[in-house]
Symmetry: C2
Subunit: 263 residues, 2 copies
DNA sequence: CGCTTAATTGACTCGTCTCAACAAAAGTGG
DNA sequence: CCACTTTTGTTGAGACGAGTCAATTAAGCG
């Protein structure tokens, strides 16, 4: 298997689904390969049809295109279908600070529910497609479908937990631990999506990684070099191969959600 | 007005309610002074009664007592009624990392919904009382009461937004900005609860503040001294008086949720 | 009123940032 | 398709903010 086949961007495609169907077409939730990760968890096919009715699949976004901008009114939350999306805020001086990287099956825009306005901007890191879930409809439907309500609450709770983990990471760990945690976390999420957690392609730039982890680009670059020298991973630009997942997770401490740290 | 009357711990009491009623008694949501901040937002009195039926008010916790521990199974989420609560994780080496300070009207335990297990421990920072909201009941009721569902989703969304703001703070701001943001944020929340945002008592130790902000205790201490020297605030141990809220918020940059930064 | 814990202050160290130069990709247009 | 520009990533040298260690003072608390 070439490392390329783990590229996040080709996730859905490399599963053998046609691009039109998987990434931009009208695949129903029922037929979506992500339905055990996304909103549909636990729904029967009748409920899935009802869910489908409030979902719109739009043409794929190209790298750099906006999904929405900070300040836009909330009309929908979005489920990533293929590719990957970053969310970020812009400080008053114009530089952006990344708040999240979102992989297929993950929901974007949940932070907007409180105020009715997206607090962050969201852009595609690569060619990506999303399902647009009308928010009004989602609120309505989750009053009617217990399983949908539960899953929505679960996904929001998971986001809270993940963000808190990031706070612990940013507040408590040195640079090396932060990068180790991010890589372990991405590896785990890539794994959950059916791909090898040992080799994948990072869709985000070093800049984005630094911004997300609160580090200078140069530091991120040096860290990759160091981790490679220590035999923890191989890295060649965006292509990453994890050689010692356990040691990597130990470096990350408690800060990889989901999995408990080894030892 | 003495600064003491702004003590977080005496919030409810100083509103003139009897301790038994306000802090440990059986005040219904209807009669609770926090009902415009907490779960009851937007509910009519019939629905409030239904909500009351799944809520238990327990004896107040004393300083340091646990509300729950990381790893406990989720049975309820808690609304702070009076006092203040901190949530934190323990690293493998035993030192704790604070993930949140919670004031009256705020919900605790939302991070447990995803897994059914509290991911953090929660302890009282001072004598505090809470409302225990049975989680099963809450799920049930929010299927029946639209307003309750909306408020629950709003509160979870707000937490997501707040945690993301903390990530930006911890990843992007120097020590001074972090403390300025925390103080501005607490001031705003104290203000929302009907007290002067200019003078209040911090219920958490310097250690807790440092842990929450990712700083050493010594740094926190020095920062307080410096901010006082610069005329931004007066501080005497836990007692804080904000002298220049605008400059303080400007130091904090975009990292005070709710309020936009001045200038 | 002593004892323990919390907060403050100082001196020194170290990790990460900044600035700067360079290399390698990736677009862009003829 | 190649030469060009622009963007992105890597590496080095020096500066500085915040951590650590240690000592002192001030509060809580029994």
């Amino acid at each position: 298997m070439t490392a390329d086949s783990f590229a996040v961007h080709s996730m859905t495609v490399s599963r053998g689904e046609r691009y039109g169907a998987a990434c931009g077409g009208n695949v129903a939730c029922q037929d979506c390969s992500l339905h055990q990760l996304c909103l549909p968890v636990g729904l029967d096919s009748e409920d899935l049809e009802r869910l489908d009715r409030i979902i719109r699949r739009r043409r794929p976004l190209r790298r750099g295109e906006y999904l929405f901008r900070a300040g836009d009114p909330l009309r929908a939350v979005y489920a990533v279908r293929s590719g990957s999306i970053k969310t970020y805020t812009c400080s008053s001086e114009g530089d952006e600070h990344v708040t999240g990287f979102h992989l297929p099956g993950e929901l974007i825009g949940l932070g907007a529910i409180a105020t009715g306005v997206y607090p962050r901007s969201a852009r595609a890191l690569e060619t990506s497609s999303v399902c647009e879930v009308a928010y009004e409809g989602l609120e309505d439907l989750s009053m009617k479908i217990r399983g949908l309500q539960r899953q929505l609450l679960r996904l929001m709770s998971r986001e809270i937990h993940h963000d808190e983990t990031m706070m612990v990471l940013l507040g408590g760990m040195a640079a090396e631990g932060r990068l180790a945690a991010l890589l372990s976390n991405i590896a785990a999420r890539v794994g959950e999506r059916g791909f090898s957690p040992h080799a994948f392609r990072l869709s985000m730039s070093r800049n984005d990684i630094g911004s997300y982890l609160g580090l200078a680009v140069e530091t991120v670059s040096r860290l990759f070099t160091r981790l490679q020298a220590e035999g923890l991973l191989n890295v060649q630009r965006k292509q990453v191969m994890i050689r010692d997942p356990d040691r990597l997770r130990r470096l990350a401490g408690v800060c990889v959600d989901g999995l408990p740290p080894p030892r």
